[in-house]
């Protein structure tokens, strides 16, 4: 296959991607002027946020326990001073693990849901039926998910970090006899950590519905195609989270000096 023919084949996908980025970005800033059903952002916030709450809390709690247990185990062997474990754990949760782990969870649950829903709409001609009624599917379907995901990723990360700290404090207290008051010490968290964490939440929250929406809207070939697009959405969303994590952490390190 020549580069020209490759480009020719990729042209519709590139056009969809351009359309998706432009209209979603514009829609988020001009929410009232964007064409989607009334109350759809709230419904999507419920779908993305409330319905992921238990999943995120349980997952981050277990990860918090594992991280604290392993860290305490290693620190105990080297220095035996566990007083700083909690403070460093909270710092790294705020700027790194909290947003990234929460987003990885959302990439699987929310990303798969968006891709499967939109993919099945494509293969059953529902997207064409929207177009017949002069509805732009990106405005109508993606923009509410885009806005809801950006808001709820931040909210879920905040709750998830709280759960991880709580679970970590319990682990440290019961396994290594660290006083929870000593463990829950946010003094190491600087403004740069909060800013980095905030930007990560916003970037992940934007990337997951865009990547999944792209995979869903480019689905082809019946239910097998929907399955393929869903798999692609989960892989691509997770990969995007990791790449964004690397990029934002790098930028933050050199600009905010927030990294340890």
């Amino acid at each position: 296959m020549t580069p020209i023919s490759l480009l020719h084949r990729a042209a519709p996908s590139l056009e969809l991607l351009r359309h998706l980025l432009w209209r979603s970005g514009r829609g988020a800033f001009r929410l009232r002027a964007t064409d989607f059903p009334r109350g759809e952002v709230w419904r999507q916030m419920h779908q993305i946020g409330n319905r992921s709450l238990l999943f995120v809390c349980v997952t981050l709690s277990f990860l918090g326990m594992v991280l604290v247990f392993q860290t305490c185990l290693q620190v105990n062997r080297i220095t035996g001073d566990l007083s700083q474990v909690g403070a460093e754990f909270i710092k790294i949760l705020v700027h790194e693990f909290g947003p990234s782990l929460c987003a990885m969870m959302l990439a699987t649950r929310v990303g798969a849901g968006i891709a499967a829903e939109l993919g099945s709409m494509v293969v059953t001609d529902q997207i064409d039926a929207l177009a017949m009624n002069n509805v732009d599917p990106i405005d109508y379907l993606i923009v509410p998910r885009f806005v809801a995901s950006m808001v709820m990723t931040g909210a879920l990360t905040t709750v998830g970090v709280g759960c991880a700290v709580f679970a970590g404090a319990l682990t440290a207290a019961y396994s290594f006899h660290v006083n929870p008051v000593v463990f829950v010490d946010p003094s190491h968290v600087r403004i740069g950590d909060l800013v980095t964490g905030f930007f990560k939440c916003a970037a992940y929250g934007a990337a997951i519905p865009l990547v999944s929406g792209f995979c869903g809207l480019s689905a082809q070939g019946g239910s097998a195609g929907v399955g393929r697009s869903t798999t692609r959405a989960v892989i691509a969303s997770s990969f995007m989270v990791i790449v964004l994590d690397f990029v934002i952490s790098g930028v933050a390190y050199f600009t905010l000096q927030s990294a340890p």
Partner: protein, 248 residues
């Protein structure tokens, strides 16, 4: 009579395979026409080209005298307000009730009051025999009911051009007859132009006065439906008779 639909040398390929090859079709305003052909000969594709859901590779499409294939997004949206389409697999919105699905074209047109929308939806659902199913979701309906909801959605805005992709597929003979009766009544009332794609050749022949047949990207028959049996084209004769032996 003015043409509602006119295609001139319409071409469309997927990869190296031409699905439509210089197809010419003209439908007069108020005409009812059927389109038949073997599977994957581009019948549904032709309907999608006629409402601008697919872009053609060549040729010209005119809807009510307005060029569709070279129109801007706004012009395309304007043209689509006059087209109703029934999709092959119904394309009902899963997340909407029957009432919302049927009301959707009216709500989107923005030209009707809430009271009138309610009344029109009620009338149309009663006409397709679905009164009392307004609050159901598509997942709760049988195949035949879904087809009738999709039909109601295509008819509710009373468009000047109606495109039906397999309106009777999967329906029993009684429901099929009722659907054709309903379409006939609708056409008599609104004088809409109708183009129906169907695999039910016998049922279609009884309903439409004119038939088109697509085969291998070309229009192989365009004439009265009662004369198609005696077409000079052996491909057309074999297809209509359902004969096992022949060029197909």
């Amino acid at each position: 009579m003015t043409a509602m639909v006119e295609c001139r040398s319409l071409c469309k390929s997927f990869g190296v395979r031409p699905l439509l090859d210089r197809v010419n079709v003209r439908l007069a305003s108020g005409e009812i026409c059927g389109l038949i052909g073997s599977a994957a000969t581009g019948k549904s594709l032709l309907l999608k080209l006629l409402c601008g859901l697919q872009a053609s590779d060549g040729g010209e499409i005119f809807i009510a005298g307005r060029r569709l294939d070279a129109s801007s997004k706004e012009e395309l949206q304007q043209s689509r307000k006059h087209i109703g389409m029934l999709f092959q697999n119904n394309a009902l919105f899963d997340f909407m009730t029957v009432r919302d699905n049927v009301a959707f074209p009216l709500v989107r047109s923005g030209a009707t009051s809430a009271e009138e929308i309610r009344e029109r939806v009620h009338q149309t659902l009663r006409a397709v025999g679905l009164s009392g199913s307004e609050e159901k979701l598509p997942a709760e309906l049988s195949g035949g009911m879904k087809k009738r909801v999709a039909l109601a959605r295509a008819l509710v805005a009373r468009p000047a051009l109606l495109l039906f992709d397999e309106p009777t597929a999967g329906l029993d003979p009684v429901t099929t007859a009722r659907i054709y009766e309903l379409l006939g009544a609708e056409q008599a009332r609104t004088r809409a132009t109708m183009l129906l794609v169907s695999s039910d050749v016998d049922g279609l022949r009884r309903f439409v006065p004119r038939l088109l047949m697509l085969h291998a990207g070309r229009l192989r028959y365009d004439g009265p439906s009662d004369k198609i049996d005696s077409s000079e084209d052996e491909v057309v004769r074999q297809f209509v008779r359902g004969a096992d032996e022949g060029p197909l």
